[in-house]
């Protein structure tokens, strides 16, 4: 079972994502943005960071990287893909997920432990959580405000595609407190907070993030 983690120029959290995959029991495979070959991985993580310096728009340039052409095609065929933070932005720019992420409404960078509710535990990345499981993982972002038009938001809610929602105070102005969403099939998930930083108590506030990585192991075995 191999989880590939893409490194773009400016990715920051690729090493932590590989480590989280390994802690969960997978073989972590480093993928390079300029290489369209996925090297036989069973799932892909697009990590956090500031790919291409967030130039133009966060994720806008990365979306056209050679590796993304393959990921977009394979995601359509059911490959599990998790985009974390900048990875979520790349998924929105790629139109694998609806909506967009803009600057935090308060204009400051956030770095905090953030409580969330997992509202959809039927995706490839969340099946190890209970329904409405409340978790606390790290949130750190600048362009974390999730926006979409009302019709899109209503459709996401109606189809149960809001994967995670912020609890307590809305930290970044995201519409309807949305922290993460999925596509119709449930194989592509975008999440603004960082589960990969929360897999070991030595370095994270909790180990609540590990479930994303153990979930996908089961999803791959089941498929």
């Amino acid at each position: 079972m191999k989880i590939g983690v893409v490194t773009f120029p400016g990715s920051l959290d690729d090493a932590d994502a590989r480590r989280a995959a390994a802690v969960a029991g997978a073989e972590a495979v480093a993928l390079w943005h300029g290489d369209a070959d996925l090297h036989g991985v069973d799932a892909v993580v697009l990590p956090g960071g500031f790919s291409y310096g967030d130039y133009l728009r966060a994720g806008a340039i990365s979306r056209f990287a050679p590796v993304m052409e393959t990921i977009i095609k394979k995601a359509g065929e059911g490959l599990p893909v998790l985009g974390i933070c900048n990875g979520f932005q790349v998924l929105c720019e790629s139109h694998l997920l609806p909506g967009a992420l803009i600057k935090n409404h308060h204009r400051k960078f956030i770095c905090k432990d953030q409580p969330l509710r997992i509202e959809n535990n039927r995706t490839a990345w969340t099946s190890d959580y209970d329904a409405n499981h409340e978790i606390t993982i790290v949130l750190k972002n600048q362009d974390g405000s999730y926006v979409a038009d009302e019709a899109t938001l209503d459709r996401l809610e109606g189809e149960g595609r809001v994967v995670a929602r912020y609890l307590d105070e809305n930290p970044n102005g995201s519409y309807r407190d949305i922290a993460g969403i999925t596509n119709e099939r449930g194989n592509v998930v975008g999440l603004m907070p960082h589960p990969e930083h929360c897999v070991e108590t030595l370095t994270g506030p909790t180990t609540d993030g590990l479930g994303f990585f153990t979930s996908v192991l089961k999803a791959v075995v089941a498929s």
Partner: protein, 83 residues
Amino acid sequence: MARVVVDVMLKPEILDPQGKAVHGAFGRLGFDGVADVRQGKRFEITLDGEATEERVAEIRKAADTLLANPVIEDYTLHVENGQ
């Protein structure tokens, strides 16, 4: 050589935190009477030759796919000839 200019703005319904920051600075610097500020992006694209209909259509396609995100932004495009 012709130049194609693409101006990109956030859609009116999308919050613009950068524009808000600039608006705040206006107030602090004593520039009064400003109701709102919205910040956008301007792209000046210089073509190798003339701005034929075909080439402008190409730039429009680039604006649709790369320069603007239609989910949150609108853009306008115009040609400046003989610069």
